[in-house]
């Protein structure tokens, strides 16, 4: 399936147009659009725009395609992803968001990208080979024991974007196995996959109550209008 909506462009822009976004590590704002520094200059992952400023090439981070970008646009205040971190990413898919995380953590960081579907992992493997800081793993995120042998040491962050009824439990289970004490977790709660008949607010409340048993809730935003019926939550392991 062609996902590209329009022909992407590489543009040369002046130095004034780029500034750090909310003082976050590796996240920039270019003419009001989010961007990360391209780890593989010249290479696009999902048809995004590339912007060259001086010698640095940035990749525009599409807030309609990537939930953390949407969360930042919706004024998420706490975003603990930093250079050099090791991240366990559940629901990596073809690597749209993973690629930006890979930009942010840089050469010294690692993203373990878990996904259950081999079709989308095909795309991720391609970029994993190019970038060198992504470890693609074909596995079911519900069963951490099955891929524990492939994830080394404790991770600094667990990120979950999985459309599953038990997505909160999946996050908890993976954090118990892999997340170091005091480590961070981020989750995109999709109310439509938990129960389509209940109003989203009710589901958010239930999920947050469950999450609070295991984590401290640092921040949360709803992703409307970028993603409907989604809430993005940033957590810290107790």
């Amino acid at each position: 399936m062609m996902r590209r909506r329009r022909i992407p462009v590489t543009r040369q822009r002046s130095k004034e147009s780029v500034r750090p976004f909310n003082d976050l590590d590796g996240v920039y704002s270019i003419d009001g659009r989010l961007a990360t520094v391209n780890l593989m200059p010249g290479v696009r992952v999902y048809g995004e725009d590339l912007v060259k400023i001086g010698r640095t090439e940035y990749r525009i981070w599409d807030n309609y395609r990537s939930k953390p970008a949407a969360a930042l646009k919706k004024k998420l205040k706490v975003f603990p992803l930093k250079k050099g971190m090791t991240v366990l990413y559940l629901g990596a898919a073809s690597g749209t968001t993973v690629s930006h995380f890979s930009d942010i953590v840089g050469k010294d960081g690692v993203i373990y990208g878990i996904d259950i579907a081999e079709r989308v992992l095909r795309e991720l493997i391609h970029h994993a080979e190019l970038r060198g800081n992504i470890v693609p793993i074909l596995a079911d995120a519900k069963l951490p024991g099955k891929y524990a042998g492939q994830v080394f040491g404790q991770v600094d962050m667990v990120f979950e974007d999985v459309a599953a009824k038990d997505q909160v439990e999946i996050l908890v289970r993976n954090s118990d196995t892999f997340l170091q004490p005091g480590g961070y977790a981020m989750i995109a709660i999709k109310s439509q996959s938990i129960d389509v008949t209940k109003p989203p607010k009710e589901i958010y409340a239930e999920c947050l109550a469950e999450l609070e048993k295991h984590f401290e809730i640092l921040d949360k935003v709803e992703l409307d209008p970028f993603e409907k019926f989604h809430m993005f939550v940033v957590l810290k392991k107790k």
Binding site: R122, F152, T197
Partner: protein, 343 residues
């Protein structure tokens, strides 16, 4: 004595109950070969594991149990140094990165089965149908300028395209039903070049029909091989569409029959769940002749019956691989007759 066997990227470890290493048989140091071994180890026993078991037996361990690699997670970097896989943590990470990429590749390679072919071919047929429909509409309009009467006389799209592609201009057509019509046609005159163009366009359409036919035959062969029971119960078209909607044989085999009954009716189902509208009684199973021909008031009942049998058939095809299609079909037809008599 009991020993635990753990297969890691380095090789096969034999551990005692305190997780200390008793014996070790390494894999090669080549990431690609390691990945293949790891995939093999998930379903079977590698040569290295057999060697390890032999070594352990020699030490008096006779009882073996396999464990997930996570028990050795913390030890691996040190062990990899000890056995010469990597000299530093950095080198170890790079090595493991390569192994993991190769492993993911090997898994992707293995994950696609014959049922993926069924889904692709089914999709190709569906898209050919769409394309043919669009092109036929154009052909009927175009050729209709020259011979408008033919459209009414030839209701089958395939024979319409066939006639135009064989004869070209109206005058050349020799066809029993069209003889009188062509002599008093109200269509405009086509020059030789006009007729030639529309003729070659029609040829392309007939080629698409031929392509569709050969895909259908191929699909049927695939189904005989992968889902013979399901094919017998549902017929090739429904069997293929059901597999495609479910997303593969494994997923279909794990589905309850109530889900199979409503595959393809998701929109109506969710409308119902939201409290707007009646519950759907059938999805794609509606194309099954038994459901299609059932009277309105028992369509749901027959759909449930057909879905139940399809579910059993899919499970047989995927898990036990026994062939009992004829029994299932007889049973299905007997039950359907009974439902018909109840009325």
């Amino acid at each position: 004595m009991k020993a635990y066997i753990v297969v890691t990227a380095l090789g096969c470890f034999g551990l005692d109950d305190k997780n200390s290493v008793l014996e070790f048989v390494p894999f090669s140091k080549e990431p690609k070969e390691i990945a293949e071994k790891l995939v093999e180890a998930k379903t079977g026993t590698t040569v290295e594991q057999k060697q390890l078991e032999a070594k352990l037996s020699a030490k008096g361990y006779t009882d073996f149990d396999k464990r997930d690699a996570d028990v050795m997670r913390a030890m691996l970097p040190t062990l990899s140094g000890k056995y010469g896989f990597a000299r530093s943590q950095m080198e170890f990470n790079r090595f493991m990165g390569k192994v993991n990429i190769e492993l993911a590749k090997a898994q992707v390679r293995k994950a696609a089965g014959r049922d993926n072919l069924i889904m692709q071919v089914n999709g190709a047929i569906e898209e050919l149908d769409k394309a043919i429909n669009i092109l036929i509409e154009r052909l009927r309009e175009w050729y209709g300028l020259h011979f408008p009467e033919m459209s009414r006389a030839t209701s089958s799209n395939e024979s319409y395209a066939d006639i135009v592609s064989r004869f070209g201009s109206r005058e050349r057509i020799s066809h029993p039903d069209l003889g009188i019509l062509k002599s008093k046609s109200m269509g405009m005159e086509f020059k030789a070049v006009d007729a030639a163009m529309v003729q070659s366009f029609a040829e392309q359409i007939t080629a698409l029909y031929k392509q569709r036919e050969s895909l259908e035959r191929y699909l049927d062969e695939l189904l005989k091989e992968t889902a013979p029971n399901l094919r017998d119960i549902a017929g090739p078209a429904l069997a293929a569409k059901t597999i495609a909607l479910a997303g593969g044989m494994e997923k279909l085999a794990r589905m309850p029959s109530s889900t199979i009954q409503l595959l393809g009716a998701e929109k109506a189902l969710f409308r119902h769940l939201h409290g707007r509208g009646k519950s759907p009684k059938h999805g794609i199973v509606i194309i099954h002749p038994l459901v299609q021909n059932a009277p309105l008031e028992s369509k749901g009942k027959v759909a449930r019956l057909v879905a139940a049998k399809m579910s059993i058939a899919a499970k047989m095809d995927f898990y036990s691989k026994v062939y009992r299609g004829t029994d299932l079909k007889n049973d299905l037809e007997a039950r359907a007759r009974k439902i018909a008599q109840e009325k």
